[in-house]
Amino acid sequence: MLKFGAKRWLFIGIALAIAASFLSPNFNRYYLGVGIDVGIAIILAVSLNLINGHTGQFSLGHAGFMAVGGYFAAWISLKLGESAEVFFPLSLLAGGLFAALIGLFVGIPSLRLRGDYLAIVTLGFGEIIRVVAQNTEAIGAASGLKGIPKLTNLGWTFGLAALTIYIITALVNSTYGRGFLAVHDDEIAAESSGINTTRYKVVAFVTGSFFAGIAGGLYAHHKQFLAPTGFDWLKSVEIVVMVILGGMGRTAGVVAAAILLTLLPEFLREVSEYRMILYALLIIFLMILRPEGLFAFKLKRRQTS
C-alpha cells in the first residue's frame, strides 16, 4: 500500500510542478521568487530532518553543504556557458554528489561524537567550508560568484522537493531505514542489538548532505549570485529551526514549517526592524511550550514501527 500510495503522490506532485513551471512566466516575479525560496527551504529542511530528526544527531553545518553543492553546480554551469541549460539537471546532480562526498569526509570522523559535541564540530566544518570558499579565487572568493544563469524554476524546485520527500520518507520507512530510528531512540540499545550505528549515522549524514547540495544548486541558479557570507552558521540555524518547529522526524510538519518560516519574514517586512527579535522569541517560546514541534498533533511518528 505504501509503495503505491507514495508513488501516486509523487507523480501528482511532479505533474503539478511541471504544470506550474509552464504557467510561471505569467506569475508575478516576487511571488514566483518567494515560491522557489519555499521549495528550496523544503528540500533543506526535509534533508536535515533525516539527520536531526529521524536519526537524532545534531548537525549545525547544513548551510555548509548547501554552499558546496551550490558553488559546484554554479561553477559547472559557468564553465559550460551556452549549454548550461541542457546540462542543468546534471550540474545539480554533480553539486549534490560533491556535497555528499564532503559529507562523507566530514561525517566519518565526526559522527563518533555525540550531542552538543557533534553540533559544535559540524558548526566548525560549516565555517571551514565558508572560509575555504572565501579564499578560493576560482569561485570568486570574497567577491562572490556572479553571472550564474537563471535556470531554476518552479518545476525543477517543486519536482525535486517532491522527489526529496519521497526518497527520504521511503528510505526511513524501508527495512533498512528502521536503523535510523533505532539510532535515534537509543544508540546504546541499537549498538547492543548488532546495529552498526556509525554506519547508519554516516548514511543519514551523506544522504542529507546530498539533498542539501541539490538545494544549494537550485539556490545558486535562482539568486544568480553566491557570496560566502550567505552560508554562515545563522543560515544553518534557520534550517534547524524549521526542523524543530515542524517536529523532529515529522516530515509533514517539517514541510509545513519550511513553508511557514520562509513566508513569515515576507509578511513581516512591514515591521522589519522587529523581524529577527520576533524570530528569536519564537524559538524560545516554542522550545518551552511546544518542544514536540508546532505541528505535532495526534500524529505519533512511531505508530507504525
Partner: protein, 302 residues
C-alpha cells in the same frame, strides 16, 4: 625577537579567551549544556561598563584604579542578575528535557539579546568607543612591546582561575556544585538545593563573562552588540579543547587557541585562514581525545 613578540601577543589574547572559557566551563560542568548566551552576557558586561564609567568617574576621577574596580564589580553584579534571570525564565522550565531542546533555546536567547541590542532604540549597531578605565602604558624592551593592560588581563585571569578553583574545590557551595554536576537527582535527595546551586552557577558564570567583556573591551576599545560572538565561539572551542567542565582545561585551551591563532595570523598566506584555525584545532583534538586535553572520558552506561 619576532617570535617572542608573537608569543606575548598570543598569551595576551589567549588569556582573554581563557577567562571567557572559564564561564562556559562552569555552566557546562553543572548543567551539561552549552550556554550560547554567554557571549552576549560578555557584550552586556562591556555595555554596562560603558554606561557606568562616566558616573563612577564623577566620584573617583578619571582612570583611577578604585573607579575601575568599582565599574567592574557593578557590571559583574548586573550581569550576574541578568544571567540568573535568563536561567530562571528560559532554561529552568526545560530542566529534564533533552539536551538539544535546551541548546536550541540557548541559541534563541543568544539571538534575542543580539537582535534586541542591535535595535536603534537599544544600543544600535554602530560601534562605540569604550572609555579608558585605566591608563594603558606601553613598555618597550628593545623591540618588544608589552602594554600594562595585557599584564592586567593576564593577572586577572590567573587570579580568577585560582579563585574559581578554590570556590569549586574547597568551599561548601563548591561541594554542592560538584554534587549537582555529578548527579542532580542524588544531590537533591541528599538535601542539596539544586535550583539555588544552579542559579548560583549562572550568577558566577555571568559575572565572569562581564569581567571578561570589560577586559576584552579595554584591549579592543570598540564595543557593539555582536562583539561577543567571535570571542565567545573561540572561547567555547577553547573550553572543549581543554576538556569542557574542567577548570584548568579551559585556561589551557584558551592559551593554546590564542597562541596558535596569533602565530598563524603572523604568517603571510596563512593569515587569511585564521577564522578556520580554532575549528581546525578543535576537530583534530576531538578526533584524538574526544573528551578534550584534560577531560576524563566517561563511558555511557545503559
Amino acid at each position: 625577537m619576532e617570535f617572542l613578540q608573537q608569543f606575548i601577543n598570543g598569551l595576551s589574547l589567549g588569556s582573554v579567551y581563557a577567562l571567557i572559557a572559564l564561564g562556559y566551563t562552569m555552566v557546562y560542568g553543572v548543567l551539561r549544556f552549552i550556554n550560547f548566551a554567554h557571549s552576549d552576557i560578555l557584550m552586556l558586561g562591556a555595555f554596562a561598563a560603558f554606561y557606568l564609567s562616566p558616573i563612577v568617574e564623577k566620584f573617583c576621577g578619571p582612570q583611577s584604579p578604585v573607579g575601575a574596580i568599582l565599574v567592574v564589580i557593578l557590571a559583574a553584579a548586573i550581569c550576574a542578575i541578568i544571567g540568573t534571570l535568563i536561567e530562571f525564565f528560559a532554561y529552568r522550565p526545560l530542566r529534564g528535557r533533552p539536551k538539544l531542546t535546551v541548546l536550541i533555546t540557548a541559541i534563541g536567547v543568544s539571538l534575542f539579546i543580539e537582535f534586541t541590542c542591535q535595535h536603534g532604540k537599544v544600543f544600535g549597531s554602530n560601534p562605540r568607543p569604550f572609555p579608558k578605565l585605566l591608563n594603558d602604558t606601553q613598555f618597550h624592551f628593545g623591540k618588544l612591546a608589552i602594554g600594562s593592560n595585557d599584564v592586567i588581563v593576564l593577572l586577572v585571569t590567573a587570579m580568577l582561575l585560582v579563585g574559581i578553583w578554590f570556590l569549586v574545590q574547597k568551599t561548601r557551595v563548591g561541594t554542592a556544585l560538584r554534587a549537582v554536576s555529578y548527579n542532580q537527582q542524588a544531590a537533591a535527595l541528599m538535601g542539596v538545593p539544586v535550583n539555588r546551586i544552579i542559579s548560583f552557577t549562572f550568577a558566577v558564570g555571568s559575572a565572569l563573562a562581564a569581567i571578561a567583556g570589560i577586559l576584552y573591551s579595554m584591549k579592543f576599545p570598540a564595543i557593539e552588540p555582536l562583539m561577543g560572538v567571535q570571542p565567545g565561539l573561540r572561547a567555547f572551542i577553547a573550553a572543549v579543547v581543554g576538556g569542557i567542565g574542567n577548570i584548568p582545561g579551559a585556561v589551557l585551551g584558551g592559551l593554546i587557541i590564542g597562541l596558535l591563532e596569533t602565530f598563524a595570523g603572523g604568517i603571510p598566506g596563512l593569515s587569511n585562514y585564521r577564522d578556520a584555525i580554532a575549528f581546525g584545532i578543535l576537530i583534530l583534538i576531538l578526533f584524538f581525545k574526544p573528551a578534550g586535553l584534560l577531560g576524563r572520558s566517561t563511558v555511557e552506561k545503559v
